[in-house]
Symmetry: C2
Subunit: 459 residues, 2 copies
């Protein structure tokens, strides 16, 4: 059964499993103790730290293990912000960072700090010049991911790092998506990662802080992990994480090239075989294994469910997929379609045949979901006037867009359709639909409930 | 090779190992995802939560898993303090809590809160009336461990819980040492624990918060674990932790009785067979598996090293054991001897023969260490005057006490020995020596360097 959500979590690498089993026997004791079981645990911890440090390109004493990638980001950001409190309380981040970064930024703001979110283009990439422009005299920290976790686009880390260096601002690079897959970006001051994304076990994150970076973790003191990550070390898992990091990075070059070709195929075939689809993210400067596309007139949750029934595990940034009422902040920041969104991220070793089967199955699944939602129903009689108002209040995505698509044929060229909607996704998806269908998005107007989105028929 | 430091970490329980292996295959995916691997992970997480909740006696939605016992305490305390911020910013804790509690208290104080540390008696127990007296109108939270981690003394949790209930103050009970060993204390509002102390893997703590307790975790938002513990769940380890908690609690009654008898034997035999020893902690109201004693004229680090060479892994709260320059805060709060301190904590299944061998070996090891330190050397000629000043500046424990013991014979009954010392342990160990040797501790006076400790010879 093909699992295509490696960007969420990868299955345990065989090397990690083996290392974990050995370390369960050898590494359960407290590495701070002086007796033989403690010394043995300490040796394992030291060796894991050396291996991980070598893999990311830093000194062992610059690297600490945390309970998760999220904890690494929380600790890294709060430590750097606290350490440079005297410089100022300004933070610069890209608008498409992982939620752990953006939530840390929100918490910083709630405590009186200020935050600049640097926007991205339609591929999801931040502009290096725009990022440089966001750095100020009082900027304590800048954060930029190595590559985006939802659309795969690589960020211009080297150029941003250079700007940060010139401005004397430390740069935290969230490398969660790329650490197991290729070169570590140069120029970082702090680096974070997450083991279960590289085939390690869950329960292990990684935080590297370059010597010389001012760092002061706020909150309760703790003597473990240089005071940067509180609590008893998750040792067997740390040992397994380091072993698999080394293993996947050793295989990364060859495997990345293979997965890159598979993703190229997905990008091309999906764009051809699925009508009304938008493949998003940079087609070239991107993670090797990840591709995201959005399908008009499709409910993301139903699509995921049908793909799951067909045997494929993928994820989605649609607002209509889960308990969340808002579309992915990444798609929103890019200004691209969010409905019917699918992220495919291939684990190492993905079989070509599984990708082919996915590409065979997908068009039919999308068509079936559209059929069920009535998206293919013929347009009703022409509107009596030259314009129409469609009431989609209380309807969730993709219904407002489906209703818009049905109504547009009922007005003459030059006429308008006004969609009343209170679903958050409409704000993103109606303009995206206009772009894809070459109609004019006139704008959004306030309404008694929700908003009125006005579209002019051009063709 | 007998391992007698279960209070630090217990070896993995066979049930935990089995559960972990199964969950590595079944539970690596993101439990928040809707596809089959995610649903499978969610089922495992839900089942683990139900099992753990049943074991501690709470509802599943009251229980969250954290990355460690320390993280559970940090999150529990900060969440309860933040949630009751409007009530006030006062915190009451016992003086012998685990460092995670006391460090959280210090962090709270640094942020402008106030803290009362309730003292303990010489057995390490807090007085329920004294604790009740520390509760104020503006007390946001009270913290009391179920039993002490260094000396095993049980705390009067039920009585303190009753006082807290009457005062409307939530009580956090740190049950790290007792969860796997017997009944869960009644009356808690928040409860914390640590899996690697009950035979579970490292990387898992437990935080239960009763419905109705105001709780607001400060810091970055995160959707996992009801927002009380950030980051991807350490799922296979959580599954293993819950399985072993159930297993050890099922065996706890019988095993506790067996270990209690072994500890009674250690308490009695050590007191008889080792000269100048103080067995500390409550002899009756105590954890079943833990006993602590301190040996005069012994360097804790050397003692641990020699016991390790003889095959026994134990820990120590002496200041002379590790990088720390201060004796254990627990021994200090109790006002008992800290030098030559040894904590023995028996894991489940400890063989009687191993305990017997430990008791056979111990007196010889202590005697040898004393011999090496010159503690047994005969006193030199009598002092020319009726009093003596011993310069132990720059000497670490147990040297100041050894020098005092040598000097006391050189002054006549009624004469004084003044010890100049700058080692922190002297402040605790010189009065403790006086108590054990029935000499009079006159007091401490300031000196140019360190302090002058004055002792009068009584016999």
């Amino acid at each position: 059964m093909p699992y295509f959500d490696a960007a969420s979590a990868a299955p345990l690498h065989p090397v990690a499993r083996q290392a974990l089993l050995a370390a369960l026997d050898e590494g359960w004791a407290d590495p701070a103790r002086l007796y033989r079981e403690g010394r043995r645990a300490r040796l394992l911890l030291d060796a894991a730290r050396e291996a991980a440090a070598e893999a990311v390109g830093c000194r062992p004493d610059e690297l600490t293990f945390t309970p998760s990638g999220t904890a690494a980001v929380h600790s890294g950001m709060s430590g750097a912000l606290e350490g440079r409190r005297r410089v100022g309380r300004h933070l610069a981040v890209s608008s498409v960072e992982h939620s752990s970064v953006l939530h840390s930024a929100a918490a910083h703001e709630a405590r009186g700090g200020s935050v600049s979110e640097v926007p991205v283009d339609r591929t999801g990439a931040v502009g290096a010049a725009a990022f440089a422009g966001a750095l100020r005299e009082d900027t304590a920290l800048a954060c930029l991911q190595s590559a985006n976790h939802e659309v795969g686009t690589e960020q211009p880390v080297a150029a941003v790092a250079e700007a940060c260096r010139a401005a004397g601002v430390p740069l935290l690079v969230d490398a969660a998506q790329s650490l197991g897959r290729g070169p570590v970006p140069e120029g970082w001051s702090l680096l974070t990662g997450s083991a279960h994304k590289w085939g390690g076990p869950s329960g292990v994150g990684l935080l590297a802080v370059r010597k010389g970076v001012r760092f002061a973790v706020p909150g309760p003191a703790d003597e473990r992990e240089s005071g940067r990550s509180a609590g008893f070390e998750n040792l067997p898992a740390i040992v397994a994480a380091a072993a698999s990091l080394r293993a996947v990075r050793a295989e990364a070059g060859v495997e990345a090239a293979r997965l890159r070709a598979l993703v190229d195929r997905i990008r091309a075939v999906v764009a051809e075989s699925v009508p009304d689809v938008e493949v998003v993210g940079d087609p070239v400067r991107r993670l090797p294994h990840l591709v995201t596309f959005s399908c008009l007139y499709v409910d993301g949750e139903t699509l995921l469910h049908e793909l799951d029934r067909a045997g494929f595990s993928v994820s989605s940034g649609s607002s209509c997929t889960s308990s969340t009422l808002t579309p992915s902040h990444v798609l929103r920041a890019m200004g691209v379609l969010s409905e019917g969104n699918v992220r495919v991220s291939l684990p190492d070793g993905t079989a070509e045949a599984d990708v082919d089967r996915f590409l065979e199955v997908l068009p039919g699944v999308v068509a079936e979901v559209r059929q069920r939602l009535g998206a293919a129903a013929p347009a009703a009689s022409p509107a009596p006037a030259g314009s129409l108002v469609v009431d989609a209040l209380g309807r969730r995505c993709p219904v407002p867009v489906i209703e818009l698509a049905k109504a547009i044929g009922r007005v003459p060229v030059g006429g308008t359709v006004t969609v009343l909607a209170d679903d958050e996704a409409a704000r993103l998806d109606i303009p995206a639909w206009c772009g894809m269908r070459e109609q004019e998005y006139v704008g959004e107007e306030p309404a008694d409930r929700g908003s009125a989105y006005v579209v002019r028929r051009l063709s």
